[in-house]
C-alpha cells in the first residue's frame, strides 16, 4: 500500500512559512517532518505523521517549482503559473535571499568561483549549516554578483530593483558583492572577531565614499562618458592615487610634530589614556597614513582590514583605550590636520579619514 502519487494544488498557491524556512535551511523532508511534529500547535490539529509528511512533500515540491522563479525575482511578479499575492511574493523572495551571518562570514571576500563552491562542505561542517543551504546562499551571492556586475548605476539600487529585496538586504548584498569584487581579506585569525555586520557597515562606508559613484554628479556624467561600468563596485582610482599625497603627514617631520602637538593639546585632560595616546601618536599616524598611501596596490587593498586591525586597533586595544577614547582621538586627529597650514590635501584627507573613522569605530570592539 504505497502512496504512488499525492499532490495538492491550490488556485492561490499555499505556502507555509515554517516549512519554507525548513526547506531553505536545507532540511530533508524526513527531518522537516520530525521538526514539525514536535513544533507548537500540531497537537491542535491531531496531525498524524502521515498527514504532515504529505503536506511537507507537497510544499517542498511547490518550493522547488518556485525556485526557478526565485532565481529571477522580477519574473515572479508577472509569471502566470503560481497565483501568489504580492506580499507573499515579497516574503518568498526576501527569505530566499536571506543568508546566515555565520555562513557569509566564511566566504566574505572570497572569489565566488567553482573552487570556493567546492569547499562549501567544509564551511557546512564548520558552521553547522546544511550543505544545501550553504549552496543556496552561495549561489545567491554569485547570482547577484553576476547580474549587478554588468549593470551601471548605484549598486544598492541595482540589487534592490533586480532582486526586489528590502533595503537592508540589498545593502548587505551590496557589501558582499563589493567584498567579493575587491577580494578583501576577512578570514585571517585576527579578523575573526569581526561580524558580517561590521564588515557590511564598512563596505557601506567604502561604497558611499570611496567609489567613483560616491562623488557628485559632475563626476557621474564624466563616468558615463568614460563608460566606467562598475562605478559602485570599484574604488575610485584617482582618489587612491591622491591618497599618496597624504604621506607628507608622516614624512615631513615638522608636520608630524605639529600635528601631534595639536592633537595632544586638544586631548589633554580629557582622557585617562592620554599618556598612551601621546607616546603612540607617531606610530598610529604612520600606520593610518601608510595604509592610505599603499591603497593603489591591489594587494594592499585586500589587506585593508587586516592593516587597520594590526596598525591601529590592536595597539590601541593593548593600551586599553575605551571606545570613547578612540572616538575622541580620531576626531581630534582628523580635525587637527585642518589646522596644519602646510597641509594642502584637506579634501582627500577628509574623504579618507571619514571612512577610516567610522570603520574603526565599528570595528573597535571585542
Amino acid at each position: 500500500m504505497a502512496v504512488e502519487l499525492d499532490v495538492f494544488v491550490g488556485n492561490t498557491t499555499i505556502m507555509d512559512e515554517e516549512v519554507y524556512q525548513l526547506w531553505l535551511d536545507g532540511y530533508t523532508v524526513n527531518d522537516a517532518v520530525k521538526v514539525r511534529m514536535v513544533s507548537e500547535g500540531m497537537e491542535e490539529y491531531e496531525a498524524s505523521a502521515e498527514v504532515v509528511m504529505s503536506d511537507t512533500m507537497d510544499q517542498y515540491r511547490t518550493f522547488q517549482m518556485c525556485e526557478r522563479l526565485l532565481h529571477n525575482p522580477t519574473k515572479l511578479a508577472n509569471q502566470l503559473l503560481f497565483q501568489i499575492p504580492p506580499h507573499r511574493q515579497a516574503m518568498l523572495i526576501e527569505r530566499y535571499y536571506t543568508f546566515d551571518d555565520v555562513f557569509v562570514r566564511e566566504v566574505l571576500g572570497k572569489k565566488l568561483s567553482k573552487g570556493t563552491k567546492k569547499d562549501l562542505d567544509d564551511v557546512s561542517s564548520k558552521t553547522g549549516i546544511t550543505l544545501k543551504s550553504c549552496r543556496r546562499q552561495f549561489d545567491n551571492f554569485k547570482r547577484v554578483f553576476k547580474v549587478v556586475e554588468e549593470l551601471k548605476g548605484p549598486l544598492v539600487e541595482n540589487i534592490r530593483q533586480n532582486f526586489i529585496l528590502s533595503d537592508k538586504l540589498a545593502r548587505d548584498y551590496a557589501a558582499i558583492v563589493f567584498f567579493a569584487n575587491n577580494r578583501f581579506e576577512t578570514g585571517k585569525r585576527k579578523l575573526q572577531y569581526l561580524t558580517f555586520q561590521d564588515f557590511a557597515f564598512c563596505a557601506g562606508q567604502l561604497i558611499k565614499n570611496w567609489t567613483v559613484g560616491a562623488v557628485g554628479e559632475s563626476v557621474f556624467l564624466y563616468v558615463l562618458d568614460n563608460m566606467v561600468e562598475d562605478m559602485d563596485v570599484d574604488l575610485d582610482k584617482e582618489f587612491l592615487q591622491d591618497l599618496k599625497e597624504l604621506k607628507i603627514l608622516i614624512t615631513d617631520k615638522d608636520l608630524l610634530d605639529q600635528h601631534k602637538s595639536l592633537v595632544c593639546t586638544a586631548l589633554r585632560g580629557k582622557t585617562k589614556v592620554y599618556t598612551e595616546m601621546e607616546t603612540n601618536f607617531k606610530n598610529l599616524s604612520r600606520g593610518l597614513v601608510n595604509i592610505a598611501a599603499k591603497l593603489t596596490n591591489t594587494k594592499d587593498v585586500r589587506d585593508f582590514f587586516i592593516d587597520l586591525v594590526e596598525k591601529f586597533i590592536e595597539p590601541c586595544r593593548s593600551d586599553r583605550w575605551a571606545s570613547a577614547d578612540m572616538r575622541l582621538y580620531l576626531t581630534h586627529y582628523t580635525n587637527s590636520a585642518h589646522l596644519l597650514d602646510t597641509f594642502k590635501y584637506q579634501v582627500v584627507w577628509d574623504r579618507y579619514m571619514g571612512v577610516i573613522k567610522s570603520c574603526i569605530f565599528k570595528m573597535y570592539h571585542d
Binding site: 500500500m1 505556502m15 498527514v51 522547488q64 511578479a77 508577472n78 502566470l80 497565483q83 499575492p85 504580492p86
Partner: protein
C-alpha cells in the same frame, strides 16, 4: 461569409532558450484558423520579442467560428533545419460570438507544449466582426449562451425553462490511428487536443441549435463529458437545460450575496419576455418537433442497436419493475395532471439544474438512478453515432419511468456519467424525481399569471418540497410516513435523499456535513461479455451497500436528509470502486432520526454481550457528539415545551393542533410495525461488522471545519471573502496480491479519510472554514492502482454572529417579523426562519394539499435482486421505526455558537487581507470556485463558458520530480491557463469550476507518464459588494481575500 475574425500578435515574454549557442531564441508566430495560416516576422535573438504584428484577418462562416479554435503556434526560426515549435495556444472564440459576453480577447496566454508544459507567454488580441445572418437554414447557433452553473445565473432571470437538451458526437481517437505509430508523441497529443476542441465546439453548436429551435436563448447546467473509449473512439457528449434568460438590469441583482435565488425572486414582477408572444401551442409543437431529435427514428435505431450491435449487454432491471413498484395512482391532483401534460410533451422532462427559483420545486420524490453495462465496439460511422445515442436513450427512459413510479413527472439535478475499463463501459444517470410547478414550464404562463393571480393560490409551506409526491396508499416502496413536522398537514418520509442542492427556503436545524460511503469489490479478471456480466452482477450489491452505509452514517450524525447525492462506480480490471458523497442535514420538516441498535447473535455469551454493549455505547456517544458538533437542536422540542412562544399565533395554534394529530398518527405507525422494534445491526454478520467499522472510523472534521458537497453549507451564512479552490489527487498502489473485499474496503476508506485529513490540515489557517462543493472522483487507472481526485473550495466565515445573522436573515426574508424572536434562539433556528420564508415563498406558488415526499434512492431497481432489495427496504423501514422511538430530548441552545478561536483567526484574516494591497502586479488575480457565486461579491457579467482540454506527457518522469512532480506541475499549469483565458476575456473569476476528467497513466520503467485533464467553468466579472463601481479590471487589492492558508 458572416464573420471576420481578427487576430494580432503583440509580444512574447519569458520564452525558453532555443539556441544553445547564443542562449537566445529567434521566435516567430503562426496564427491558424481553419485552413488559413498567417505568420509573423521572425524576431531575432530575443527572449521577450515584440512582434506587434498587423491584424491577421480570417473570413469565415459562423459555423466554423463556433467549432474551430484559433490556433497560435510559437516557433523558433532555424535557417538550416526545421523550425522548432516552442508551444501553442488554443483560443476558444465562442465568447466573442455572444454580444453580451466579451467583446475582445486580449492578454497574456501561457504558451503550452504537451511535452514541456508552459514555455513563456504570448500577448494576443482577438476580435470578431459578426454580420447578421438571416439564413433560416443556418447551422450555427451563435448567440446562445452557455453556463456550467446549475442554477439560474445570478444576473439573469429565467423567463422560461424549456427543458432537457442533449447531444453527442463521436470520432476516432487520434491516439489509436495507424499514423500514431510513426508520429511523435507531441504530434499525437496535439492532434488529440485539437480534435477534442473541435468536437466540443461542434457539440456546443449543435446543442445551441436545439435550444434555438426550442425558443430558448441559453443553456444552463451545461455538462460536457469525454468518453475515451480507446480503440472504439472518442465520444464527446453534453447535456443541459435550455432556458430563456433575461438579463437583469444592474440594480436588480444587488443582493447576490446569499447566492442562488435572488434572480428568480424578481421573476414574478418582471415584464413578459419576448417569447411570450408566441402562442403556447406553437411552442408546444416546436418543442416536440425538436427535442426528440431521435424520437422519430428512435424505435428503429433501438432495434438496430439490439440486433446489430449485439455485444451491448442490457443490464438487468432496465424495465421499471422491481422495488419501484407500480406507477402512482390516479389519485393525484389536478394541478399535477396539468403539469404532466406540459411536461409529457417533452421526451425527457429532465433538468440539470440543482438550484431553483422559489416555488419551482413543488415536491421531491427521491433519487432515481440507472446504470447500464455495455461492451464497446468500434464506432463505424462517426456521423451516425446511433449506438451511443440509443444507449443513453435507454438509460433516460429508465430514469423517466423511475420518476413516474415515484409519482413524479420530472427529474431535477440530473447528470450522466460513464466509467470505462478496456472494452467495458458503465453508463450511469441519476437525478431526483420531483414535481415542478407547471408555471415555469408552460409558454408564457410566467407572465400571464402576473402578481395577483399568484396570491389566489394557497401558499406552499417552506416544507412543501419534503412532502411526498406519491400516493400514500400506493407507495412505490415501503417507507415510514409521518405528518410533516412543520406544517403538520402533509405526509413526509422519514428520510429524504436527493441529488439537488438544499432549497433555500428549507428549514434546517444546525449545520450539514459531508457524508461518504465507500466500497470496493474484487472481481475476477475477464474479457468481453463474461466481464460485463460479472460487473453487472456486482452492481446491485454495491448500490445496496453504498445506500446502507449512507443510511447508517446519516443516522449516526442524527440527520434525516441527504442533498447533492452523487454515486460514482468505477471499474478496473480486477475490482469495482464505489463512492457515494452527499451532504447530510437535519430537515426540520422530517422526523428526528432514531438510534442504531447493536445486537449480538449469540445471546447468553457474556463477553460477547459486553462487546455488544461497548459498541452500542460508542455509537450512542458518537451520535450525541455529532449532535453537539453540528448544532442539531430538533425544533420540535421548542414546540412541545409548554408556553414557548411561537411568533405567529395563527401558526402556533395550527401547529399545536396538528401536533396532537400527528402524535396519534405516530403511535399508530408504531403499532403497525410493533413487532420488530429497532433497526438492528447484528455484529456477527460480517457486513454489519464492516458497517460498524466504517461508521466509527470516520473521523469528524477537526474543530472549526465543516464540509459539504453542495453549493452552500446549511447553517453558515456569514462568509468572508477568504476562499481557496484546490485540486488534490492521490494514487495508491496496492501491493498485496491477496486482498480480500474487507481489507480492500479498509484501504479505500482510509485513503479517502486520510485525504480529507490532509485537506483539513493544509487549510487550517482558514479556520473557521467550510469545505464546499467537495467533489471526489475515483478511478482505477491500472490493475493495482486506486486514484482519488478532489476538487473543492475552502471558504472561511465569521463565527460568532451566527445567532444575530440568523435573526437578520429571518427578518430579511420575512419582512417584518417580530423582533421578539431573537430572544428565543431555539425556534429561530428552525421555526421562525422557516415561517418567515414560507411567508415569502407563499407568494409564488404552492400546493399544500400534497402529501409530500420522501425517498431514498430506491429506484435503482434490479429486478433479479428483488429479494435482497426487499430485505434492504425492510431494514430501512425498521430504521425509520427506530428513528421515531429514539428521538432525543436533550438540547442546549448555548451550543449553537461554540466558543472556538474566532477572535484569533478573525484578526489573522484581517491583517492578511490588509496586506494584499501593496506592490500591484500586472497579473490579474483570478479567483476560481466550484460554486456558482463568490461570497461578498456581485457577479455583474458572464463572459462565456470555459471548457479546456489538455494533454501533458513526459519522457523524463524522474527529472520532473516523479509522478507527483509531474502532475503537480500539470495541474498548476492548467489553473494558470484557465486564469489566463479568463483574464484575457476581461474577467476576474471562474465560477462553477470543475475538473471533469483527470486521466493519469504512468510507466515508471520507461520513465514516462501521460495525463489528460478536462476542466470547465463560467468566466465572470465580479465586483465586491462594497464597491460602487462596476468596472473591475485589474484588481490588485483583491488578492488579500484570495490569500488562503499561509
Amino acid at each position: 461569409m458572416p464573420g471576420k475574425l481578427k487576430a494580432k500578435i503583440v509580444a512574447g515574454r519569458h520564452l525558453p532558450v532555443m539556441d544553445r549557442a547564443s542562449d537566445l531564441t529567434d521566435a516567430f508566430v503562426e496564427v491558424k484558423f481553419g485552413n488559413t495560416t498567417f505568420k509573423t516576422d521572425v524576431y531575432p535573438k530575443c527572449l521577450n520579442p515584440q512582434w506587434n504584428s498587423e491584424w491577421f484577418k480570417f473570413e469565415v462562416d459562423d459555423e466554423d467560428l463556433q467549432d474551430e479554435p484559433l490556433q497560435i503556434t510559437v516557433l523558433d526560426h532555424d535557417t538550416y533545419s526545421a523550425n522548432d515549435a516552442i508551444g501553442k495556444v488554443y483560443i476558444d472564440i465562442d465568447p466573442l460570438l455572444c454580444s453580451e459576453a466579451a467583446s475582445v480577447i486580449s492578454g497574456w496566454f501561457p504558451i503550452y507544449d504537451t511535452i514541456h508544459g508552459i514555455r513563456g507567454e504570448i500577448n494576443v488580441l482577438v476580435k470578431v466582426d459578426l454580420f447578421n445572418d438571416l439564413n433560416r437554414f443556418r447551422q450555427s447557433s451563435c448567440g446562445v449562451k452557455f453556463f456550467c452553473t446549475t442554477s439560474i445565473p445570478l444576473c439573469y432571470r429565467a423567463a422560461m425553462v424549456h427543458g432537457f437538451v442533449e447531444e453527442l458526437v463521436v470520432n476516432e481517437d487520434p491516439e489509436y490511428q495507424w499514423i500514431d505509430r510513426i508520429r511523435t508523441p507531441r504530434a499525437s497529443n496535439e492532434a488529440r487536443q485539437r480534435l477534442i476542441s473541435l468536437m466540443s465546439g461542434e457539440l456546443q453548436r449543435k446543442i445551441g441549435l436545439k435550444v434555438l429551435e426550442m425558443g430558448g436563448n441559453a443553456v444552463v447546467g451545461y455538462l460536457q463529458c469525454f468518453d475515451l473509449e480507446g480503440e472504439s473512439g472518442i465520444v464527446v457528449r453534453a447535456i443541459g437545460t435550455a432556458c430563456t434568460l433575461d438579463k437583469l438590469s444592474a440594480g436588480a441583482n444587488a443582493n447576490a450575496y446569499t447566492h442562488p435565488n435572488t434572480a428568480p425572486a424578481s421573476n414574478a414582477c418582471n415584464s413578459p419576455s419576448k417569447d411570450s408572444k408566441e402562442s403556447p401551442l406553437a411552442h408546444g409543437c416546436r418543442s416536440t418537433h425538436n427535442s426528440p431529435v431521435h424520437s422519430t427514428c428512435s424505435a428503429q435505431r433501438l432495434s438496430q442497436n439490439f440486433s446489430v450491435s449485439v455485444p451491448t449487454l442490457i443490464f438487468a432491471g432496465m424495465g421499471s419493475g422491481g422495488s419501484v413498484g407500480k406507477e402512482a395512482g390516479p389519485l393525484k391532483m389536478l394541478l399535477r395532471q396539468q403539469t404532466q401534460t406540459a411536461l409529457e410533451q417533452r421526451e425527457f422532462p429532465f433538468f440539470t439544474l440543482t438550484c431553483f427559483p422559489p416555488g419551482f420545486l413543488v415536491h421531491v420524490g427521491g433519487v432515481v438512478s440507472a446504470r447500464s453495462v455495455k461492451l464497446l465496439d468500434r464506432i463505424h460511422n462517426p456521423d451516425e453515432p446511433e449506438t451511443r445515442d440509443a444507449w443513453w436513450e435507454e438509460i433516460r427512459q429508465e430514469i423517466k419511468s423511475h420518476a413516474k413510479a415515484l409519482g413524479c413527472h420530472a427529474v431535477v439535478g440530473y447528470s450522466e456519467s460513464t466509467s470505462i475499463c478496456e472494452e467495458v463501459c458503465i453508463l450511469s444517470a441519476a437525478g431526483t424525481a420531483a414535481i415542478l410547478n407547471p408555471r415555469y414550464m408552460r409558454e408564457g404562463c410566467l407572465d400571464i399569471g402576473s402578481g395577483d393571480h399568484r396570491f389566489d393560490e394557497p401558499s406552499p409551506p417552506s416544507c412543501g418540497f419534503c412532502h411526498i409526491p406519491y400516493d400514500e396508499l400506493n407507495m412505490p416502496f415501503p417507507a415510514q410516513l409521518t405528518y410533516c413536522y412543520q406544517c403538520r398537514r402533509q405526509k413526509v418520509p422519514d428520510v429524504l435523499f436527493t441529488t439537488i442542492d438544499l432549497p433555500t427556503e428549507a428549514a434546517v436545524s444546525g449545520k450539514g456535513c459531508l457524508i461518504q460511503a465507500r466500497l470496493c469489490r474484487l472481481k475476477k479478471k475477464a474479457q468481453g461479455e463474461v466481464n460485463a456480466t460479472s460487473i453487472s452482477n456486482l452492481l446491485p450489491f454495491m448500490e445496496y451497500e453504498l445506500h446502507t452505509q449512507l443510511m447508517n452514517k446519516l443516522k449516526l450524525r442524527s440527520m434525516n436528509a441527504l442533498f447533492g447525492l452523487r454515486i460514482q462506480i468505477s471499474i478496473g480490471e480486477n475490482m469495482l470502486l464505489g463512492l457515494a458523497s452527499a451532504t447530510g442535514v437535519y430537515l426540520s420538516a422530517l422526523p428526528t432520526p432514531g438510534g442504531i441498535q447493536i445486537a449480538g447473535k449469540a445471546s447468553g455469551d457474556l463477553s460477547n454481550e459486553q462487546h455488544v454493549l461497548s459498541i452500542q455505547k460508542r455509537i450512542n456517544d458518537a451520535m450525541a457528539k455529532n449532535k453537539e458538533m453540528y448544532h442539531i437542536n430538533p425544533p420540535e422540542l421548542s414546540e412541545e415545551a409548554a408556553g414557548s412562544p411561537i411568533p405567529e399565533p395563527k401558526q402556533r395554534s395550527r401547529l399545536f393542533r396538528s401536533q396532537s394529530e400527528s402524535s396519534d398518527e405516530l403511535s399508530e405507525l408504531d403499532l403497525s410495525h410493533g413487532k420488530k422494534d429497532a433497526f438492528v445491526l447484528e455484529i456477527d454478520d460480517t457486513d454489519a461488522v464492516e458497517d460498524i467499522h466504517s461508521l466509527l472510523t470516520d473521523a469528524p472534521p477537526p474543530a472549526g471545519f465543516y464540509s459539504c458537497n453542495t453549493e452552500v453549507m446549511p447553517g453558515v451564512y456569514n462568509w468572508t471573502s477568504g476562499l481557496q479552490m484546490f485540486t488534490s489527487v492521490r494514487v495508491l498502489r496496492l501491493s498485496n496480491a491477496n486482498l480480500t473485499n474487507q481489507s480492500l474496503n479498509k484501504i479505500f476508506t482510509d485513503m479517502c479519510e486520510n485525504l480529507l485529513k490532509s485537506l483539513y490540515f493544509k487549510l487550517r489557517s482558514m479556520i473557521p472554514c467550510c469545505l464546499c462543493h467537495v467533489n471526489f472522483t475515483v478511478a482505477v487507472p491500472e490493475d493495482e492502482l486506486i486514484q482519488v481526485a478532489v476538487t473543492a473550495v475552502a471558504m472561511s466565515f465569521d463565527k460568532e454572529p451566527i445567532l444575530e445573522k440568523l435573526g437578520d436573515r429571518a427578518v430579511f426574508k420575512g419582512a417584518g417579523e417580530n423582533e421578539d424572536q431573537l430572544q428565543f434562539p431555539m425556534e429561530l433556528c428552525a421555526e421562525s426562519a422557516s415561517v418567515a420564508i414560507s411567508n415569502l415563498t407563499a407568494k409564488f406558488t404552492g400546493v399544500p394539499e400534497y402529501a409530500g415526499g420522501p425517498s431514498r434512492a430506491t429506484s435503482v431497481d434490479y429486478g433479479s435482486f428483488a429479494d435482497r432489495c426487499s430485505t434492504w427496504l425492510e431494514l430501512i423501514r425498521l430504521k425509520a421505526h427506530t428513528i421515531r422511538r429514539g428521538s432525543v430530548k436533550t438540547i442546549s441552545s448555548s451550543e449553537r455558537c461554540s466558543p472556538l478561536p474566532e477572535g484569533r483567526s478573525r484578526s489573522l484574516r484581517s491583517t492578511r487581507s490588509s496586506g494584499g494591497g501593496g506592490g500591484g502586479t500586472a497579473v490579474t488575480v483570478v479567483k476560481m470556485t466550484p460554486l456558482s457565486f463568490l461570497p461578498g461579491t456581485r457577479l455583474i457579467k458572464y463572459l462565456g463558458i470555459i471548457n479546456m482540454f489538455f494533454i501533458r506527457e513526459t519522457t523524463s518522469l524522474r527529472e520532473e520530480g516523479g509522478v507527483s512532480g509531474f502532475l503537480h506541475t500539470f495541474i498548476a499549469e492548467v489553473f494558470a491557463m484557465v486564469r489566463a483565458h479568463v483574464a484575457a476575456l476581461g474577467g476576474n473569476a471562474v465560477v462553477s469550476y470543475s475538473m471533469k476528467e483527470c486521466v493519469f497513466m504512468e510507466n515508471p520503467n520507461k520513465n514516462q507518464a501521460q495525463c489528460l485533464i478536462n476542466v470547465s467553468g463560467d468566466a465572470v466579472v465580479f465586483v465586491r459588494d462594497t464597491d460602487q463601481e462596476a468596472t473591475p479590471t485589474l484588481i490588485h487589492t483583491s488578492c488579500g481575500g484570495t490569500d488562503g492558508p499561509t
